[in-house]
């Protein structure tokens, strides 16, 4: 599966999409869901929670293991994808289409430090070795 070029990425396998209103949608990458396997439980943050960059803010659990999801940038949670809680398998089917939560960045310059698709591909390539 190719890595979408309109998104930004973290080394910890989150994807980030900047929305028109300046908020960012956050999900976990196709690679991450592939590593985890069948997803059975998602724990989302609450609207109004604030997180620092790289702070744990959600949990994705597959049949196999639990994985923390980290805030790709600092900010406040402005929306969560509640229907995903009842259908965590959507992440397996379409990881890049299944956002977990939206953040209002408190320091938008942090976005510039995230990886682009090519940079994320390099991370994946290096993990293979």
């Amino acid at each position: 599966m190719s890595i979408p070029t309109d998104l930004k990425y973290t080394k910890s396998h989150e994807w980030v999409k900047t929305e028109a209103n300046g908020t960012v949608s956050v999900g976990i990458t196709h690679h991450a869901q592939e590593l985890l396997g069948d997803m059975v439980f998602i724990e989302l943050p609450q609207v109004g929670d604030t997180f620092a960059q790289k702070q744990e803010c959600a949990v994705a659990e597959s049949v196999k293991a639990a994985a923390d999801v980290y805030a790709p940038v600092s900010g406040e949670v402005v929306e969560i994808n509640s229907p995903l809680v009842d259908n965590p398998e959507n992440i397996n089917q379409d990881a890049f289409g299944s956002w977990l939560f939206k953040l209002k960045p408190s320091n938008p310059s942090e976005l510039d430090g995230l990886l682009d698709a090519a940079g994320y591909q390099e991370v994946l390539d290096s993990e293979d070795h």
């Binding site: 396997g37 069948d38 059975v40 439980f41 724990e43 949990v59 659990e61 049949v63 196999k64 639990a66 809680v85």
Partner: protein, 363 residues
Amino acid sequence: MLKKTPLNQTHREMNAKMVDFGGWDMPLHYGSQLEEHHKVRQDAGMFDVSHMLPIDIKGENTRDFLRRLVANNVDKLTIPGKALYTCMLTPQGGVIDDLIVYFLSESWFRIVVNAGTADKDVAWILKQRETLAPDLEITPRRDLAMVAVQGPNARTKVWQVIPESKAVTEALKLFQSATINHFFIARTGYTGEDGFEIILPAEEAPAFWKALHAAGVAPAGLGARDTLRLEAGMNLYGQDMDESTSPMESGLAWTVDLKSERDFIGKQALLDSKVSQQLVGLVLQDRGVLRSHQKVTAQHDGQEFEGEITSGGFSPTINQSIALARIASEISPDDEVNVLVRDKKLRVKVVKYPFVRNGNVLI
């Protein structure tokens, strides 16, 4: 260098996701662990269990040797082909391994031990032979492969593939086995479903596996094996029991024979010990997933007790998280119990396991 079973190449041809499992290169799944799980519960699936080790014990005194070596009583094995589930214990009563003993003839018993403990088991058995029965011939059978075919339609599909086996295996009861041509076929398994475990020459395993696949048996990996066995309430060596726990604290008291006069290694320690812990089943009432080593807290008669999950996970059949946990013997299904998951106290219900048997949810 990872160890490989005779089916390693076949797994790769079937696009298995391979993982390092205790030094063995084994299939985790072939696409979806959940689909494989459901296939076994509803139809038929197959597992490569060739990493486990059959050990043949031959000689006139084999039964006497086993009377001393294992905690269950091999005198229950009177009909050739009959199998017995048991533990092999340390003198202190700890579990060296759990295993199945097959009675083939008075001068030939076969035991099948776990993969991760195989080397330790062989060393222990050889050491016991020195003092108990030096004439016995003990042969680890790495030349054999093992395939478990499990599910409500498993036996029918095996008969499609080995038609000549039907006549001799149709009447087999649970925990009985028969030999036909190169196939040693036992009506045993680790999923809570009907089925066979088949031991055959390593070189024949790939063709047999492919024939089963052509007959509609789904390849299933270690992932599904673990969720199925947990639902079936079957203990996993290294998690639910080990050398630091006795079978009495691991839900395996039913496999220990203390009634007969027979003395076995570990018996005195079991008689001298006070059993203060038990293995119970847990069903999570809140959202989340129970995992091994999570802490269990319970209240009984105003007293606080602590325990630990030994095996936990998501149950695909029940669609809730379940677990086995070791906790004080005082705790019963009526008590208030919690599990600590990432600093949150989640509510769990204490139940008797198994959770699922023959496709039916029992809790």
